[in-house]
């Protein structure tokens, strides 16, 4: 058969990411089609208007990356996206995709519209062993120890907690704190059930207390990008950072070894629970028969075990199916896999909240972390309001 060109847009552009995409492309090309790469850097904010414009403008791509969750919901509702239910049933995705919530996020009114490809988790605390050594305190095992070590670190001229200025970092850190401090149930009550009582309640108040600590500890980070913050940890100028598993790549690139140079604490060492956000591919409805077929081929390829392994090893994320073996994974990744295997997972806030609520939350927390005069009580009140209005 003729090779069909299929344009795939995504925002994976950095070295490791691109290498991972290459795996997808390779696997797809092997099916006799051709992957045409349409990479746009800058995360959703930059890429999304482009993708949406293309789709609504009547010139859609063959497939496009979204964070699975609610980002594409309206496109689906507008009938612009392709229904993958037949394929999913045929290939039995319901069975193989683990955790099941990943596929749930792709399901709208019982129909499946996306193919999940990986799991990224947010719930990690990255610590610089050198920094603690310099401050003369042992490397903490959990969040509380970390907070306790802060004065000593500060005395040594080390910023206890590195936090970049971009809003999503503050919001993400807070989400991590909720799971760690208040636990999985509270997290689900707040974000899945949108229970404003809980959001305004004492459990969350505790989390805000912790966030207040984090705020104090992060004073003096003075960086914008998350990797600049990570760099502070790598160079020992800062002691720790709450950041997703993608931070690992930075340590690796700097030639640091997990355990000796740095330490990773999933769930902040308190609640070893990780979220299962991640990426998925959506397929706009195309008129061209050939291309439609190619779309199916791609969707099917994405979930193949070989593809999953190859892709996620490069990407540094976890595979979406439990039945694959990641022997070559590193230390921290293995910790993640174990937690996943135990089923200690939650859905990511991307999946649970609309982007609108997410954005409001980001605004709130970026303000909270930057503005010491905002009391935890005030912040909690606004937080509860956002949860109340969330859909």
């Amino acid at each position: 058969t003729n090779a069909t060109d299929l344009e795939v847009t995504h925002w994976w552009t950095s070295g490791g990411e691109a290498a991972a995409v290459a795996e997808l492309a390779k696997a797809f090309d092997a099916t006799g089609n051709k992957w045409v790469d349409g990479a746009i850097a800058g995360s959703g904010g930059t890429a999304r208007p482009i993708m949406i414009s293309r789709i609504t403008g009547g010139d859609p791509m063959g497939a496009t990356q979204f964070n699975h969750g609610r980002q594409a919901q309206e496109l689906v509702e507008a009938g612009l996206m392709r229904d993958l239910t037949d394929l999913a049933t045929r290939e039995n995705w319901k069975e193989i995709v683990k955790p099941a919530s990943l596929l749930d996020s792709c399901t709208i009114e019982g129909k499946i519209y996306c193919a999940p490809v990986n799991i990224h988790s947010w719930q990690w605390l990255w610590l610089s062993n050198a920094a603690f050594k310099q401050a003369g305190v042992p490397v903490p095992k959990n969040w509380d120890e970390f907070v306790a070590a802060a004065p000593a670190l500060e005395k040594a001229g080390i910023v206890p907690l590195a936090l970049g200025g971009q809003p999503w970092q503050a919001a993400g850190a807070f989400d991590v704190l909720i799971v760690a401090i208040a636990g999985k149930d509270v997290f689900e009550n707040v974000f899945a059930k949108k229970d404003e009582e809980v959001a305004a309640g004492p459990e969350i108040a505790k989390v805000f207390k912790a966030a207040d600590d984090a705020r104090k500890m992060s004073k003096g980070s003075n960086v914008q990008d998350w990797n600049q913050a990570t760099n502070l940890v790598i160079t020992g100028k800062a002691a720790g950072q709450i950041m997703g598993d993608w931070a690992q790549g930075e340590f690796q690139l700097a030639g640091q070894k997990a355990g000796t140079d740095y330490t990773c604490l999933p769930g902040l060492g308190v609640n070893e629970v990780i979220s299962t956000g991640g990426d998925a591919f959506y397929f706009p409805l195309l008129e061209d028969e050939e291309k439609s077929k190619a779309q199916e081929a791609l969707a099917s390829t994405l979930l193949k075990p070989e593809t999953q392994v190859a892709f996620n090893l490069k990407k540094g994320s976890l595979p979406v199916r439990g039945d694959v073996d990641l022997a070559t994974a590193n230390d921290c990744m293995k910790k993640g896999l174990e937690i996943l295997a135990k089923g200690n997972v939650i859905q990511g806030t991307d999946q649970l909240l609309s982007p609108d609520s997410q954005k409001q939350k980001e605004d709130l927390f970026s303000e909270f972390f930057a503005n010491p005069s905002m009391t935890p009580e005030d912040a909690q009140k606004r937080f509860a309001e956002i949860i109340a209005a969330a859909d």
Binding site: G44, K359, D363
Partner: protein
């Protein structure tokens, strides 16, 4: 058709200047379809709860209520006012002063001009980053000055909520004053040489000549410059994103970023449209009467 009848009948007004009208079609279409039509479209959808896609699900003034309750929007407006005011004043003042210096029959004028103009050619994305570095207390200007011995020196505008907008201003001026300088210089070159001579014979000091005589004579240049700067101010977005992403916290947010973030990050088009409608209304209230006086209203040519 004889000449007598051809020339004696007043032709249809619509057909007179036909070519000019045809040639103006792109302008008319742009004005009507894009600017008026697009604006109307935006205003209409600002009354809906459109999320990712524009949908005509009207919710009355909800979006506006939410907008004006959002602390971030209020801060954005404040910031724009501060940034706009200082950016306008400093651009004009610095641009003019530089142009005045350049107008002193100096050598290497072309070199100086290019130095001042080159930032205009560079993309915001990275110049924002460079300024972020330069203003970073750990490795920027502050650390340099401290390493020179002035250890109490503090200069960290981007990391201080109270003054962050001024930090952005520094980079904005760096980017934009070159162009203003060029426009002003051009204006100065258009001033009658005799005015200078008359002022010198009258014994009027240089600065007074500039302030009281030359500047009032350059009204046209100032207007062109004003339109260019002001439209840039209202639309300021990239620079903030590149330098602070609106931070620390939301201290350096601006309206255009609010619009963009809510349209594309938050996927709440209605909110974004409401915000942009507010911006447009403000601009229109200021601009329309002025523009009509300036460009319309039966003034002769020019």
């Amino acid at each position: 058709m004889t000449g007598r009848t051809r020339g004696s009948v007043r032709p249809n007004q619509w057909l007179r200047n036909l070519n000019a009208k045809i040639a103006s079609i792109p302008m008319i279409l742009t004005a009507l379809v894009i600017f008026v039509g697009g604006t109307a479209w935006t205003v209409v959808y600002s009354f809906t709860n459109s999320k990712l896609l524009p949908r005509l699900a009207f919710v009355g003034l909800d979006q506006y209520e939410r907008l004006w309750a959002a602390p971030r929007w209020l801060i954005s407006i404040q910031n724009l006012a501060v940034y706009g005011f200082f950016s306008l004043v400093f651009s004009l003042v610095i641009g003019f002063v530089l142009a005045a210096l350049m107008d002193q029959k100096i050598r290497f004028e072309n070199t100086f001009r290019t130095i001042m103009l080159y930032p205009f050619a560079l993309s915001f994305i990275v110049t924002g980053l460079v300024w972020q570095w330069l203003l970073n207390p750990q490795y920027g200007i502050q650390s340099i000055v401290r390493s020179l011995g002035w250890t109490s020196f503090a200069f960290d505008p981007l990391y201080n909520s109270d003054i962050v907008i001024y930090g952005i201003l520094i980079a904005a001026l760096w980017q934009g004053t070159g162009l203003v300088m060029c426009l002003m210089l051009a204006g100065l070159r258009g001033i009658d040489e005799d005015i200078w001579k008359a002022a010198r014979v009258d014994g009027i000091p240089m600065w007074k000549t500039y302030v009281l005589i030359i500047i009032p004579m350059m009204r046209g240049v100032f207007i062109t410059t004003l339109v260019i700067i002001a439209s840039g101010i209202v639309k300021v977005y990239d620079l903030v994103v590149a330098q602070t992403s609106g931070g620390p916290g939301i201290a350096s947010e601006v309206p255009a970023k609010y619009v963009y973030d809510y349209m594309f990050l938050a996927q709440n088009l209605g909110q974004g449209f409401a915000a942009s409608t507010m911006m447009l209304v403000t601009v229109a209230i200021i601009i329309v009467p002025w523009a009509y006086l300036e460009f319309g209203g039966g003034r002769k040519r020019g």
